[in-house]
Symmetry: C2
Subunit: 481 residues, 2 copies
């Protein structure tokens, strides 16, 4: 493992995401079988390479010739996806080695998580992978999704689990179910993904190795992870420290309480550490700790789309006083100070705001503000050097706001590209579509003030770490390269 | 004011919700005017009483004859809605008094919130209301919405602001914008409302009076409020204590930090109290304090739909291990203990669960569980006397779960009607529609484990208060009635 950790870019991991050819072992004509869905994903998703269905008892699936075994496949195979009963997996892995397959995803369950017999099977898989050098993700996972190459081993049909578009956020998860639910959520909210890996039992490829790989992945601007435990604690710490000098890393750690730890024992079999210790370590390593499912991608979207702030001070602009009040409350609780706007800024604002506006921070434009009021006001506030971050709250229920407000925020965001801008709007269907439009323009947008402020805090936490706490040795090493 | 507080059911408040006739002062042919939308609401929403548009410079609006003044209206008028410029409101209120109107909603802004001239206007309105006995909600508000009587003074068109269906939750708010956004949210999520009031500047009817009225309203099972300040602190405390002996009261207090308080000054002009003090007082009075927008209705839905638990212990059933782990974490942090399932319960479970399930709590049925597995398992767990509350997590991305799961949860919920049941499911579009279906069957349902557990905690907090902390004097008084 020591060797792997030093080999920062183990070339073989890229075969999981950019294979030139894929074989699906367990591809089936029966639509409810995992192997059927996985094979169909490759056929229908726009994957450009060759796909071979492998099944000793079928001739043809979805118009494709089926091969009885891997050995029968005419060309080379980069990636094999194994979705067959656990007792047959070891033999299939042997065939992968013989065929010269580079990377294998084992979807099948029935290993470490399933008692003594399973543990034996998994130990054997680990041994085979290490001896052969064939890399293995899984078993007991939903595998890999890459929206650019269209690798998609998710065995859940897309009418159940929508696939997100290509984006900047890489997402790795120990729990496949967690991963599937959050991917589905991301698709609905227009949140783009760079690469997704559900890594299951980690018989071979570990969470740390994936983190290293993703830290060097050009498509990935921010990494998020759901972890219950890690394979090798000390190694993980080393890797995480390196990763956070390159890009932000947001982690939701399941099992940070004794009740949660008990639950992880029966779930992934992970043994988890002390909660306070974990928070302390995360802080020291510059890892942003999410405290709930929402917080994971809320922090990630802010970090992936926006620049790091030069300071902690926040300005809020709103057309709804109550939400300005609540956001101020959340900011203070999160330790984020509100900018005291300069008299110059206030004088300029006075010229352009609607009647009865409040010029202190939060700047409350009242319900009569239209999108042009926002434009004028935001241009002024964004120029105030003491405003380090901007939170724009826009209730779209009021008739004075047209959907052009999305274009206006996008323009402000692009004009003041060195200053983080976040948006918040609360409501029903029309609000949801506004949120999706803002997201599409890479403005991290939130359905409540509390969630917006959590993201603000994550931005400042990571900015502070990068500015003040990145270990000197790492800095020097990076400069030398 | 003392007198009003003793007159628990001031008959006149009901004219706001069940007027036999309504006049809209400022009804207009111009579709962007507030008066136009308000008049249209009454015409189109199914309101059964008479509606009179009042406007000195129009003959006909939406096919209805327009009256130049209130005095010209042929029949009696119970409710007048005033949506005309502030300087004209006092005169209009005089006309309401002369006409014998019972209740007036003043939508118009330009009063206390708008400087010395506005304060003068508002003082005059207060005086007129007190002297005449004509009750007044507002000014500077969006007024009243009652989905049963179809009173709807919201000046926001329904394509912007969807109206929720009739339900059990009453919602009062100091901030109109807050109210509109949350109503819109409620409509999208299928959350029903009994009565809604945005009460604005409280020139006459105060938050406390509304709370008292709603505490005796048969349609209302739970009251939620967004408050920045209260008109009379001591009076509010007395009222709140009485309300919480009758039904749950959930409050989100804006301005609980110094930054937030500063913001309320320019918003509603409220002076707010010390945050720790507020939490302490809320606790003592049995008020459930929401800490963010989400928490307000999450707590309310649990309290409105479900019985109070007999104890704090929670059982979790899931088909996704990761979410079981996270829910356990949140429960422990919220001080909610997990039930240790009895060996009898475990023995019964062992007979029916899918392979590889975990029988400790959380009970993890694994991704292969179908809706019938849930039925069998929930029947067993609900019978365990040590399970006081049930949280059912169902990821619907997996192919094994059919939408029948909604019927099954509904049946369990009805069969064990003395035990609170909550549901949680995480994901995208299909998940959202599952949440709406569950909501429709009065199962409080949440898009994340953290939010579900907040609601669990609210249930237990209120149950504990009702069981142990309701002041003895109040108990005796209630029994005597």
């Amino acid at each position: 493992m020591g060797v792997r950790c030093l080999a920062l870019s183990d070339g073989k991991l890229r075969y999981f995401f950019e294979p030139r050819s894929v074989a699906v072992l367990g591809a089936s004509r029966q639509t409810r079988k995992f192997g059927h869905t996985i094979f169909k994903n490759f056929v229908r998703s726009g994957y450009h390479g060759k796909v071979y269905p492998i099944n000793p008892s079928a001739d043809e699936i979805l118009g494709h010739k089926v091969y009885p075994s891997l050995a029968d496949v005419p060309g080379p195979v980069d990636l094999a996806v194994i979705a067959i009963p656990a007792p047959l997996v070891t033999q299939a892995f042997h065939e992968c080695i013989e065929k010269g397959v580079k990377a294998v995803v084992v979807i099948s369950g029935g290993f470490k998580e399933a008692g003594p017999e399973g543990i034996k099977r998994e130990t054997e898989l680990t041994r085979l992978a290490e001896e052969s050098g064939v890399r293995l993700i899984g078993p007991n996972c939903i595998g890999v999704f890459d929206p650019r190459s269209h690798v998609d081993t998710l065995f859940l049909p897309s009418y159940r689990l929508k696939r997100p578009l290509a984006g900047e956020i890489a997402f790795i998860t120990q729990s496949g179910a967690f991963g599937s639910a959050v991917l589905d959520w991301a698709a609905a909210k227009n949140v783009g993904i760079s690469k997704f890996v559900s890594f299951g039992n980690m018989a071979d490829v570990s969470e740390s190795e994936l983190l290293e790989f993703l830290s060097e992945d050009a498509d990935t601007k921010c990494i998020v992870a759901y972890l219950e435990g890690v394979r090798d604690g000390l190694h993980f710490l080393k890797v995480a420290r390196r990763v956070t000098t390159l890009k932000p890393l947001v982690i939701l750690k399941g099992g940070t309480t004794s009740a949660g730890q008990l639950a992880t024992l029966s779930h992934t079999g992970s043994l988890a550490g002390d909660p306070a210790l974990i928070s302390g370590i995360f802080n020291q390593l510059g890892i942003i700790q999410a405290h709930n499912v929402e917080g994971l991608f809320d922090a990630a979207r802010a970090l992936a789309y926006q620049p790091l702030p030069k300071g902690p001070r926040l300005a809020i602009v709103t057309n709804a006083g109550g939400f300005g009040v609540l956001a101020s409350d959340h900011a203070e609780r999160a330790g984020i100070p509100m900018t005291k706007l300069s008299s110059k800024t206030k004088d300029e604002l006075r010229e352009v705001v609607p009647p009865n506006s409040s010029l202190s921070n939060p700047v409350d434009l009242t319900g009569s503000a239209n999108e042009d009021d926002y434009a004028r006001v935001l241009h002024i506030i964004a120029k105030d050097p003491d405003v380090h971050m901007l939170l724009v709250m826009v209730l779209v229920q009021t008739s004075s706001i047209e959907s052009d407000v999305v274009d206006i925020l996008t323009e402000i965001n692009e004009t003041y590209s060195e200053k983080p801008l976040l948006a918040c709007t609360v409501g029903g269907e029309y609000t949801e579509s506004t949120l999706r439009m803002l997201e599409d323009n890479r403005i991290p947008s939130f359905p409540s003030p509390a969630r917006a402020v959590t993201a603000v805090r994550a931005l400042w936490d990571y900015a502070y770490y990068r500015k003040n706490l990145v270990p000197q040795s790492t800095r020097r090493r990076r400069k030398r390269r």
